[in-house]
Subunit: 213 residues, 2 copies
DNA sequence: TGCAAAAGTAGCCTGAGTGCAATATAGCTC
DNA sequence: GAGCTATATTGCACTCAGGCTACTTTTGCA
């Protein structure tokens, strides 16, 4: 075996990339539902059968691009500095993402990113598939809260979905506004405000917002 | 038109019922993925095409049974007594459901309900489809919070997913334990404890649980 | 009884996804 | 460097979900 990665691995990675790029390009051009996987396979110069070994479902051709971010919240919590609370770490991470207009925050109006937002938001099958992303993100965060923040299991299981659902709401709201034609720079201050509000609700509870007791 | 509901309406409802019952029976018997819709249509004595006019997706044959509950949280908030906070209304409603072993709480071990839990939990397509349920439930609750509880729009949009995600966690945790063979009566006290904990986190915030600041 | 609208049917078609059996290639061994 | 093995890739045939269109039946109303 080579030092790091054999030819086999490299080739697989490259094939995967090729298929993915062909898919995204075609989907953006004609729309997800208008492009059969056979056409993607043709463009990528692989067989239909091979395409399915890399991406078991058609939706995966798109959503695998978000796969890296599935465990992001969990990693942020696990990697936080000593003395920094999970919520603070997540809040700072998200605000930092906003300031960088990181596409994952939904606050990005670059044409290619915008087109991706539109495609995902406008295709029920893709939007539905993105929900699965949340399930995995929740699991990863719950693990991190339990293992590295010392939360009791029950607390971790209950807190994680709350946090992920707020993050999701923030990012999907931002993305919806971008899709509607807002400029990221114009929206930035409101997005920050929304994020602060969301984290304040998480930290301080809904009673303080007049909803509970 | 008749006083309430014409023959046409009644017949449609009955047809819908017949199809649904045939579907559930067959799915429980052989498994969701092992039964083609054509077989369901045969059993229900309708054409395949008619089946699809009632249930546009195969998954709908199962999950439509939960459709009534999609807006339940929203309705509970909208219909609460004067002076009762949204969270209190939801908490009492859920605890009441637990005490009645309402299937929607996940705390029910009747064989037929259990089989349904197992089928949904064990079939990826159905589990994924149930996530959509959460999206709709969140929307309904956000509307209720905004319109009947006077929450600012942003607060409602952020609070609703938090609440729904906790309810979902509670119910799916209960259902998972039932699937694993626990008895509903034995689990009841723990389920109540988990629910109280979940609502306490919602009301008091995650800071109080040592996660934030 | 007759008619318009709605419900159901029949059959055809596209496309996702699977199973299998055959072929090709990377990387190891002697 | 020839051969072996495990893994990648392929082609083909098949099942099934779901949609389209044109045709028939039934209902509600006149």
């Amino acid at each position: 075996m080579n030092e790091q990665e054999g030819l086999r691995e490299r080739k697989k990675r490259r094939t995967r990339e090729t298929i993915s790029e062909a898919a995204i390009a075609l989907f953006l051009e004609k729309g997800f539902d208008q492009v059969p996987v056979a056409e993607v396979a043709d463009r990528a110069e692989v067989s239909r059968r091979t395409l399915f070994t890399y991406f078991p479902k058609k939706e995966d051709l798109v959503v695998h691009r978000f796969a890296d971010h599935e465990t992001e919240a969990g990693r942020v919590v696990a990697a936080r500095q000593d003395g920094v609370s999970p919520l603070r770490a997540l809040r700072e991470h998200f605000l930092d993402g906003l300031s960088r207009h990181d596409p994952i925050t939904g606050l990005n109006d670059r044409p290619d990113i915008l087109a991706l937002y539109r495609m995902v938001g406008g295709t029920p099958a893709l939007a539905a598939r993105m929900q699965q992303y949340n399930v995995n993100a929740t699991q990863a965060l719950a693990d991190a809260l339990r293992d590295t923040a010392g939360s009791p299991a029950l607390t971790a299981e209950l807190a994680a979905p709350q946090i992920i659902s707020v993050l999701w709401t923030l990012q999907s709201t931002n993305a919806a506004l971008m899709r509607a034609g807002e400029r990221a720079d114009d929206r930035y201050p409101h997005a920050v405000e929304a994020a602060e509000h969301g984290f304040a609700l998480l930290a301080g509870g809904l009673s303080a917002a007049g909803l509970g007791g």
